[in-house]
Every structure is written in C-alpha cells, then in structure tokens.
Amino acid sequence: MDTVKEEKTETGGEEQPYHYNRELFYSFDKEKGYSQRVDYMIPENQTIIRQQWDLVEERLKGIRYLVTSGKRSPIAWYMEKALMEIPMLAGYMEMSAWRIRWHITPMGFKQLKPRILEKYAALFGITVEALKHPDLENNLR
C-alpha cells in the first residue's frame, strides 16, 4: 500500500480511487518502437470512469424524487440502482418491455401478483417486503 501512496503524491495529490489492479498498456515511441507496460490506470482514464458513475448517481436522485412523489413504483428505483434499462430488465424477467413499463407505474405495481413480485425480488437480491417499501438511500453497492 505504501507504494500506492507515493504514486498519489506524484500525480499532484489528485484523488485516485482506483489503484488495486494493474493492467497492461501499450505505448509507442519513435525511437524505441512499441512497448508494453503493466501499470495502474492513468488519472485521465479515471476521470472518464468517474463521470459515468456521477451520471448514475444523478439519475438515482431524479428517480428517488419520482418514487417518493408517487409517480413511479419502487421497481423503477431498483432498476436504476442495478444500472438497468427497460429492455434489459425485460430480458432478465422474460417478459415483454410493455409489461415492465406497466409495472414501473404505481398503478401497475399495485396489481402485481405475489409470484411476479417474488421474481423481481429475487432478481434484485432483496426481500418482497423491501421491494414494496424501498429504502431510498443512495448507496450504489
């Protein structure tokens, strides 16, 4: 861990959260030709990954508002939290996308049969109770 800390200061003390797996990178230099090196991700690449997770958090905020104000069902919340979209969730649930669209409305959610609720709960790795009364906290993992 000590070596990692040193690297942090080298890059101007910028925050580098991803430093536990080294990957292989190629590079080219006109004199030396092609070379490979195994290293941690460079800060620029960390920025663009960070950007994606920022968007996820932002979207979660929006969905939380919609769920608390009664415009979407908790399934919308868990779907967003699992970074899924409707076609993908439809694939996992083996249903048509239109049925999923109906389920993410509060009206459709109320009419869901226990069997389907259980299927959703199993997919998201939670209990049926948690599905009905979601804990709307913004912890991604």
Binding site: E23, L55, A82
Partner: protein, 334 residues
C-alpha cells in the same frame, strides 16, 4: 477437482488475450498483436441510433467472438463453439470439457463478475475470460485484465454467462481442440490486413463505418454543445473516450496493438514498407491518445468545456486523414 496447467498472461484486450492464452496452452506460441491482426479486429463505427448507458455507441472493434472465429479459420485450427438455452446444461457441459483437459473461453457480462474492479462493473456483455479448472462449486478463472488468477462461484458464473441486454452471451463457450503442427502465417497475415483495410476504407455508401465513420463523428461533435447543452455533450464525449480507452483496448482504440502487429508482420513477411506503416500507425495512435487526453479534461469540469469541441473534432479529422492514408496503402498488400 480439476486444475489444468494454464499459464496466465495479462493482455491489453480480453478476447485477444484469451485466444492467445488458449493457443499457448496447446503449445502454439502467438502474440497478442498477431491474434488481433490476423483476426482483423480493428474497426470503427459510430452508431448514434444504438444507445448504451444513455449515450450513442462508438465501437473500435469488430463484433465479439469474431476475432477468435477468424483467427482459427485462417490458421486451420479446429475449434468448438457452443451456445445453450438452458443455464444448467451449459454448466454441466463446461465441467465435461474441463474433465477432458481443455481450458475453455467464455463470453460473460461484467455486472455480476465478483472479482472484477467495482468501477468496471457496468452492464457490458462482451467480456471474455478463461476457465481452467473447478473444485465442487468453485471455478478457477484466468482473466487477462486481472493481475492474478481469480476464482468465482458456480452461481455467480452461471449468472454472468446468462447476462441479458445487448450482445447477450447466451452461455457462449469456445475452445480449440486441435492445432496443426505446421502453420503458415503468411497468407493469414495478408488476408487479415486486407480485411481490416477493406473495413476501414473500402465500405461504399454507408457513412458510419471506418474512416468515414470517424469523420461523421467529428462532424457531429461540432454540433453537440449547441444541440445537447454542455453537460450532455461532455457525457457523449466521455462515452467515446470510454470506448476508446477503457473497455480493454490497451489504449487509443486498439491502434497501438495494430501498430505492433504491423511491426511483427513486416518481419514475418519480409516487407520493409510495413515497418514504415507501423511507425505511421504508432504516431496516429499517439494522436488518438492526445485526443483522449484533451477530451478527458472536458469530462472533468462537468459542463464547462476546457477545450472547444471544434478543436477536438479537428483532431479527429486529422486522425481520419492519417488512417485513410495508411489503410489505402495497406489495401494493396500482396
């Protein structure tokens, strides 16, 4: 318990690495760039109508699975490629094949991949890895992205093999069974280069593929800030950069690997002009790196553009010109 003697070597790109490592197990040494070049993996397309994580898809490689298919066909290597409807059946088959003594390549989704770095765990179904053994419910995995060998449980493995969404893997597994003793690389390399060049500069009419695709992306990029607003524009740009740098491309959207391949090919074929082109390709790759360096600054400021999109688009146009020159020369290979 089965644990095969499998040599784990890291690689820039998962599918190349898996193919190269699997052949290495069958005593056939082939480098990662060579796999990539013969498999004609280099590609470019910009697909604005296909959204991935809420932004248009840009791809720098051919369809998943194509590199392995093309390479083994070119070299006359016998392979087995399987897909299953039933997850349990696919796992039983996997055990059977491991019992026979073949390490197996698998296409998986990355979201539930437990050993994966958390920041990479998006829904991305084009990842490849090798399973080289099992012990009851635990599977031994060699993943070219990871520094070390890793393990995964039965349930998790089944889940990642049946991830859903675009390019769902459907439990795809593949492994070579027989490698011929004498392999002539020369025609394979020529075919590979020809195919890549054709993909990049030879596709008529369709504007989203190859060099034309890069130019199209550049033209679109100029409009982004006006059309989408600064936040979304920077996210769209970020998506291009993620595809270029992150998803196992070893940097600059495979241009480094391809340059290394041209370098190696010039030695195998004894053609000096390929060496020159490999240097040109390297310089081009460095330009792509520069593009992603400046681009990533735009992504950082969250809305405020550090570099104008016109400046970035000009860089892309420059890359497109360079690549057009290179691939037009490569298309004449004999």
């Amino acid at each position: 318990m089965i644990k095969l003697e499998f040599e784990h070597r890291q690689a820039g790109h998962c599918e190349n690495g898996v193919t190269s490592n699997l052949l290495n197990y069958h005593q056939y040494k082939i480098s990662e760039p060579m796999v990539f070049g013969i498999g004609a993996g280099l590609f470019f397309s910009y697909l604005p109508f296909m959204k991935m994580q809420h932004a248009p898809t840009t791809t720098f490689r051919v369809w998943p699975g194509m590199i392995f298919d093309r390479l083994t066909k070119e070299l006359g290597i016998q392979t087995v490629i399987l897909k299953f409807r039933d997850p349990r059946e696919s796992m039983t088959k996997l055990n059977e094949v491991l019992d026979q003594g073949y390490p197996v390549g698998l296409q998986v989704g990355t979201y539930n991949l437990t050993f994966f770095p958390p920041e990479y765990r998006m829904h991305y179904n084009m990842h490849n890895m090798v399973v080289y053994g099992y012990d009851h419910e635990t599977y031994f995995v060699s993943d070219t992205l990871m520094e070390k060998l890793v393990e995964i449980s039965y349930e998790d493995l089944m889940r990642v093999r049946y991830a859903k969404g675009t390019f769902a893997p459907m439990g795809r597994m593949y492994y070579p069974t027989y490698v011929p003793k004498e392999i002539n690389l020369k025609p394979a390399i020529i075919n590979g280069i020809y195919k890549t060049a054709n993909n990049m500069v030879g596709v008529p009419f369709f504007p989203l593929i190859g060099v034309k695709g890069i130019r199209y992306l550049a033209r679109q990029m100029r409009k982004w800030e006006k059309k989408l607003g600064p936040e979304k524009a920077s996210y769209y740009l970020g998506q291009v950069l993620r595809m270029e740098e992150e998803v196992g491309t070893a940097g600059a959207g495979f241009r480094f690997i391809y340059g290394a391949f041209l370098d190696e090919a010039s030695r195998v074929l004894n053609q000096e002009w390929l060496k020159e082109l490999s240097i040109e390709m390297g310089e081009n790759a460095n330009k792509w790196r520069e593009f992603s360096y400046y681009g990533s600054r735009n992504c950082k400021k969250r809305g405020k553009a550090d570099q104008s999109y016109d400046f970035l688009a000009d860089m892309l146009m420059d890359c497109a010109d360079r690549e057009e020159k290179i691939f037009k020369k490569l298309a004449k290979i004999k």
